[in-house]
């Protein structure tokens, strides 16, 4: 490694004069300590605010036992009712997602900075943010006030919220495209819409399909919850059984929901894999 003894000596000397390893400065350590203290304070505060009370779990062990025992004996006597309610939930998710995709495509394209000017993208993106910021449950409560209890309110709620999500996912896919094919279309004298159709869409379509299917999966889950506030479907049936202390029936409903969601996830994952 070293040609001469002199070189070796010089190298060793250089090693000896290496500076000491760095020490964490006092101020940095103080900041870290303060940070840890702050986290601790937040945790304690949140514990009280959430009225966390593990003792209650023990004190009410009898209740828990009854609940548990009933849940362990699912009662499928009214399975056809649950099945129909599950179908209703699926229907809500299908239409809520489909409408969101239909509306989300133009909004998604119009909020992508690389295909429209910023003054177009910016306001549309803010509107989509608003759609996304409000939970579908809140939308459901609003639409129940508007169109009454039932699945249609659920569809509307999912539609609005999912449009915000889909538009964002779709526009991010558009912003990540390779600009060259778009320029290729522009170079032939194509119009803006033709650039989108022949240059942008072929690139984003697989991702879009995957996103839409994924949103459908999560909308089936959301639609279940929507029923609890009155948006129709299996959630509504579940709520009724719980209110009537019919835990065995509730357990049967939960099993149906879990099976359906798992099955759909598996199918949709298969389809999505084919497109990626």
């Amino acid at each position: 490694m070293f040609a001469t003894e002199a070189e070796r000596t010089a190298h060793r000397a250089a090693e000896r004069t290496l500076p000491a390893p760095p020490v964490t400065p006092f101020l940095t350590r103080l900041t870290r300590l303060a940070g840890a203290a702050l986290v601790a304070v937040v945790l304690v505060f949140a514990w009280h605010e959430a009225e966390m009370n593990p003792a209650q779990l023990v004190r009410d062990a009898g209740n828990m036992a009854t609940l548990g025992a009933d849940f362990l004996r699912p009662d499928f006597t009214d399975w056809d009712v649950y099945f129909n309610a599950m179908l209703e939930t699926l229907a809500i998710a299908i239409w809520g997602t489909l409408l969101a995709v239909i509306v989300g495509i133009p909004f998604g394209i119009l909020s992508a900075d690389n295909v429209v000017p910023h003054w177009v993208a910016f306001p549309i993106r803010r509107v989509m943010d608003a759609c996304r910021a409000i939970n579908e449950l809140v939308f459901a409560l609003i639409f129940i006030a508007a169109v009454g209890l039932g699945p249609f309110a659920g569809v509307l709620a999912l539609w609005i919220h999912t449009t915000g999500v889909i538009a964002k996912l779709f526009s991010e896919a558009v912003e990540a495209i390779d600009p060259a094919p778009v320029e290729g279309i522009r170079g032939t004298g194509g119009t803006w819409l033709q650039e989108i159709i022949y240059g942008v869409l072929p690139q984003v379509l697989p991702l879009w399909i995957s996103y839409a299917l994924y949103r459908f999966e999560s909308n089936v889950r959301s639609a279940t919850v929507l029923g609890i506030v009155g948006g129709g479907g299996i959630g509504m049936t579940f709520n009724e059984t719980m209110r009537g202390f019919l835990y065995s029936q509730a357990a049967a409903i939960l099993i149906i929901v879990i099976l359906t969601v798992t099955m759909l996830d598996m199918i949709s994952q298969r389809i999505r894999k084919r497109f990626i």
Binding site: P181, G184, T188, I197, P202, Q203
Partner: protein, 279 residues
Amino acid sequence: MAAALQLDRVSKTYGAMRAVDNVSILIREGERVALIGASGSGKSTLIRLASGLILADAQGSGTGAVHAFGLKVQESGRLASEVRAARRNIGLVFQQFALAGRLSVMTNVLVGVLGRIGALRGTLGLFNADEKRTAYAALAEVGIAQHAAKRARELSGGQQQRVAIARALVQGAKLVLADEPIASLDPKSAKRVMDTLVTMSRDHGIALVVSLHQVDYATAYFDRVIAMNAGRVVFDGPASQINAAFLTELYGASAEELILPSQFAVAAPADAAPSHTLS
């Protein structure tokens, strides 16, 4: 007759860098011109300016004007209203092929007619039998008709480049601008693509402007060579005037690493240096 391409005092600045510096060029109809110069000398920017894909700096009135066959592409940093009509005459071939990879080869070629047919029909993709025949004939001309139904991305780089050439043919372009069309191809595909471009130009009287790194192609395939350095045109003349001393000057200190065409393998004597010199 109007010039195929006319650039009039065109400049393009990116931040502090002058990518193209006050360039005026005139390309005649049917002319074949090679554009050479080191990376970053402004070749790609010039081609993109010529097709209006980027806008020139807005300086004074009358500057930064680009015309193709008498139709204005841009002027004073603004796209002309007739830019779409102007682009119909210009076919583009890029280094990275610029095809829609998921669409079929046929569709990628049919895209060439978009500028000519009704906007609605083009948008909906309702190409008629006549247009399909034209597209297929163009694919046959560049030698890849057998791949018409495949997805564009299944083709090799050289084949994809020939799809782009077929698209320019279908477009009825009278000027083809090719930006380093063979830069990412192996030597055999590169030759095939260059042959296709030049044959197309000769058979259809299409003017051809090709930016190249391969000086041997520039001198062997083109009559006229335009050399750029730091955004300026430093040479514009017959390919026969290009010699090793000039190339060394053009490509700078790295020129020793350049693989020069065989006729330049031995450095020309100093007294044979061309009359033009780099500023």
